[in-house]
């Protein structure tokens, strides 16, 4: 083989622009890779190409498709336009690896990942990808497949890509947070394992993401970055330790309490009597603010569960889309609860995939068909807690009233307005 096609072709690092990223207090990925490139020649090529990008404000990667046998995703394959110059970049793929829920690690596992990455490819790792995966960068075609094989052998599994379920991510939750209203790690693992088939084989009309946060502080970033946020919450009264409330007032002063707690409650349901705090629990919307500020004194109530939302995603194609409430409250503790959730998700998927258009996220699908139609499609009763306010548009197509007419015969008014309430009874 000529040097031109030698993947490990020796090359001098030439990075005058990138060198500018060496000074300053923040840790420099460039300094790290520069050092590492002494050991890994292909990293020199990578950095030299990156230098060209910096010089020309231009990118030289092109996508291609590569899958491990039996999988339909998990490898993000890239080839360089400059492969002639940088043969080591001719194939330079990323392997996505499902992270331990909550991104917790023992060092054996981390070392194992580092070894696998180094052995089969460029030895570059990212903790973590924005979807939550561990990313291992810089594999040839064979290197990618071997890497996947090695990962499997060591107990890892590869992450999602394409029109499939994506790798799940959750906040640290009950492992280290007093706010957590449910076991985010357990549910993340349960959903990942239950749906692993959908994660590995793109069978959806487009990607689908779960993100799980233990409370509405949403440290897992679920609201605008996942199709189905699952957020911890509680029913009934919040827990108040009045002694600690008094301590708080003594330490911080009443004015601090008023300015930073009472007047910041979105539904103004907090008031103070002497040194005790009164919570109008019926109007508390579980926003977490007062608990955040007074976390020694306040904590979520005891009857805990989750709110399930639907349809968050970022900007393509209808612009940033915030998830909205789908299941106001459900318990998520027993195996039965978990099974109920799995079945529920499958119902959502079925309707979305049967009716969604190509490349249509579930939020875009709902925006197109309307939440009313969506609920009917998945068989969920409407609930006023799903909305900020009822419709402001006066044009409505009442299906109960409309259909027969086009066939020529009139239909009578059904007694809709005084029919039994349905939704207010849903838990």
């Amino acid at each position: 083989m000529s040097g031109k096609h030698d993947k490990n072709k020796a090359m001098t690092l030439h990075t005058p622009l990138l060198n500018e990223l060496e000074s300053g207090p923040w840790p420099s990925f460039f300094s790290d890779l520069k050092e590492y490139s002494k050991k890994k020649p292909v990293v020199v090529q990578l950095l030299n190409q990156l230098e060209e990008s910096y010089e020309n404000r231009w990118n030289y990667w092109i996508g291609k498709v590569l899958n491990a046998p039996g999988y339909g995703g998990g490898i993000i394959a890239r080839v360089s336009e400059k492969a002639d110059k940088y043969p080591g970049l001719a194939n330079f793929h990323t392997v996505r690896v499902i992270e331990p829920p909550g991104w917790v690690y023992n060092t054996d596992a981390l070392r194992n990942l580092a070894d696998t990455a180094e052995r089969n490819g460029a030895g570059i790792l990212q903790f973590h990808g924005m979807t939550g995966d561990i990313l291992l960068l810089g594999f040839s075609d064979e290197g990618s497949l071997q890497c996947v094989e090695d990962l499997m052998h060591d107990g890892w599994d590869i992450g999602g890509s394409g029109a499939a379920l994506r790798t799940l991510q959750c906040c640290v939750g009950q492992a280290r947070c007093e706010m957590a209203c449910y076991d985010t790690m357990k549910v993340t693992k349960h959903l990942t394992d239950s749906f692993i088939h959908y994660l590995h084989r793109p069978e959806f009309v487009y990607k689908f993401k779960f993100k799980l946060s233990g409370c509405s502080n949403d440290c897992a970033n679920s609201m605008v970055r996942s199709d189905m946020p699952i957020i911890g919450t509680w029913r009934g009264p919040m827990q108040v330790d009045q002694d600690k409330v008094a301590e708080f007032i003594d330490a911080k002063g009443m004015e601090y309490l008023i300015d930073n707690v009472l007047t910041r409650c979105p539904t103004r349901c907090l008031s103070v009597k002497g040194k005790t705090l009164q919570v109008d629990n019926d109007n508390c919307v579980r926003c977490m603010h007062c608990i955040n500020v007074m976390h020694h004194a306040l904590s979520p109530g005891k009857d805990r569960g989750v709110t399930i939302l639907i349809g968050g995603h970022r900007t393509l194609k209808i612009g940033d889309t915030m998830a909205s409430v789908l299941v106001p409250f459900m318990k998520l503790e027993t195996d039965e609860d978990l099974e109920k959730l799995v079945e529920f998700v499958e119902r959502v998927w079925e309707f979305w995939n049967d009716n969604g258009m190509d490349h249509e996220r579930v939020g875009e699908f709902i925006a197109r068909v309307g939440m009313g139609t969506f609920l009917k499609g998945i068989g969920v009763e409407p609930d006023p807690r799903m909305i900020r306010q009822p419709r402001t548009t006066s044009y409505i197509k009442f299906e109960e009233l409309a259909p027969p007419r086009m066939d020529g015969e009139g239909n009578k008014m059904p007694p809709v307005w005084n029919r039994e309430a349905e939704a207010v009874e849903t838990a």
Partner: protein
């Protein structure tokens, strides 16, 4: 026809100074405060100390020439010949002399038979439209239904017992020439328009095609006649075409129904103006007295009265207690049609995990 010169003369708006009570003209821009002496009676005080008394009464809006004359007789007697109407079609007798007040009130209540009220935190007169009396589009009546509703709401008009003002409206077709308010009644159609293809020549085709907000109308030739057709899936039964083209009939006496919307507000007090929201739909269109409408309104007002705080308009009150509570208190069912699918569909969803549980 007379032989006088014909219009146009482009005369513009009447010179209002000729229509102002002398105290209004004198103190124009110099008013400093007002008080409500009793429901239906206001007194405005000017910088110099002048006081103008206003007696507000409910008018039916539609009146005969003779009734107008009766009104004038009263104003001549107690108001130096001046009066006004409000933006909600109430009448306001303007009185400069406190001593005339009692007789004025008596004349309004007894001779005219119009109730005092509509001031402060009360239910004021209901804005309304033509109905079967004059418009070409109505699916229901307006003045008649207002009469029936106000009969039921008379004590709320006569007293000031509500958390804040309640401004109501009712309209006779989906176009809603009047309907925006704290509580408002709207007719709803439930089918695409029936097309009378034989009559279609009278309509400019492109105009009715262009007007359809759902792009549901397309030109067609049926039995050799140039006409239009409606794509049923797209049509949202709005009736815009019906207004443009009488050959497209949107109404249906069997299925047209009424709905009630709440929480509309124009004022910026305490917060930006708000649209009204659907409370309940599918109420029968039941002349001559529409009892189901009055019952539904009563349910809303009772809940509002029971739990609204001072100065909370209906929409603000519901925002505070939450919509789930509103539906619980009124007993109206929450259905999938309550979930918006119009231009504000996404922002009307609960895009947060903030829930009362």
């Amino acid at each position: 026809m007379s032989d006088k010169p014909l219009a146009p003369r482009d005369q513009g708006a009447p010179d209002y100074t000729k229509h102002l009570h002398p105290l209004m003209l004198k103190n124009y821009g110099e008013w400093v405060s007002h008080d409500r002496m009793r429901p239906g009676v206001l007194v405005h005080t000017a910088r110099g100390g002048d006081k103008l008394y206003t007696v507000r009464a409910g008018s039916p809006r539609t009146m005969s020439a003779d009734t107008v004359r009766k009104v004038c007789d009263i104003a001549d007697k107690y108001c130096q010949g001046f009066l006004r109407f409000t933006s909600r079609s109430n009448i306001e007798f303007l009185c400069g002399d406190k001593n005339d007040l009692d007789n004025l009130i008596k004349a309004v209540e007894k001779d005219l038979g119009w109730p005092l009220g509509g001031t402060g935190p009360s239910v004021s007169n209901i804005s309304h439209t033509q109905g079967w009396l004059h418009c070409n589009l109505p699916g229901t009546d307006a003045a008649g239904s207002v009469k029936a509703m106000m009969d039921d709401l008379i004590e709320e008009f006569r007293n000031e017992n509500l958390p804040n003002r309640v401004h109501m409206a009712t309209s006779c077709c989906q176009i809603n020439c009047a309907s925006h308010g704290d509580i408002s009644v709207i007719v709803q159609h439930h089918h695409p328009p029936r097309i009378n293809h034989n009559n279609m020549q009278i309509c400019e085709l492109p105009k009715v095609v262009a007007i359809c907000p759902a792009a549901a109308i397309r030109p067609a030739v049926i039995n050799g006649v140039e006409t239009v057709e409606v794509v049923e899936e797209k049509c949202m039964y709005c009736g815009a075409c019906h207004g443009q083209c009488p050959s497209m009939e949107i109404r249906d006496s069997e299925t047209d129904s009424l709905s009630i919307w709440v929480g509309g507000k124009m004022s910026a007090a305490r917060g930006a103006p708000t649209f009204m929201k659907l409370a309940v739909w599918g109420i029968p269109n039941n002349p001559p007295r529409w009892p189901e409408v009055s019952e539904a309104i009563r349910r809303i007002l009772n809940a509002y009265k029971a739990t609204g705080k001072p100065w909370e308009r209906i929409g603000e009150w519901i925002d505070r207690i939450g919509w789930a509570k509103f539906f619980e208190m009124t007993g109206f069912p929450f259905t999938r049609y309550h979930i918006d699918d119009g231009p504000e569909a996404l922002s009307n969803l609960n895009r947060s995990a903030m829930i009362r549980l």
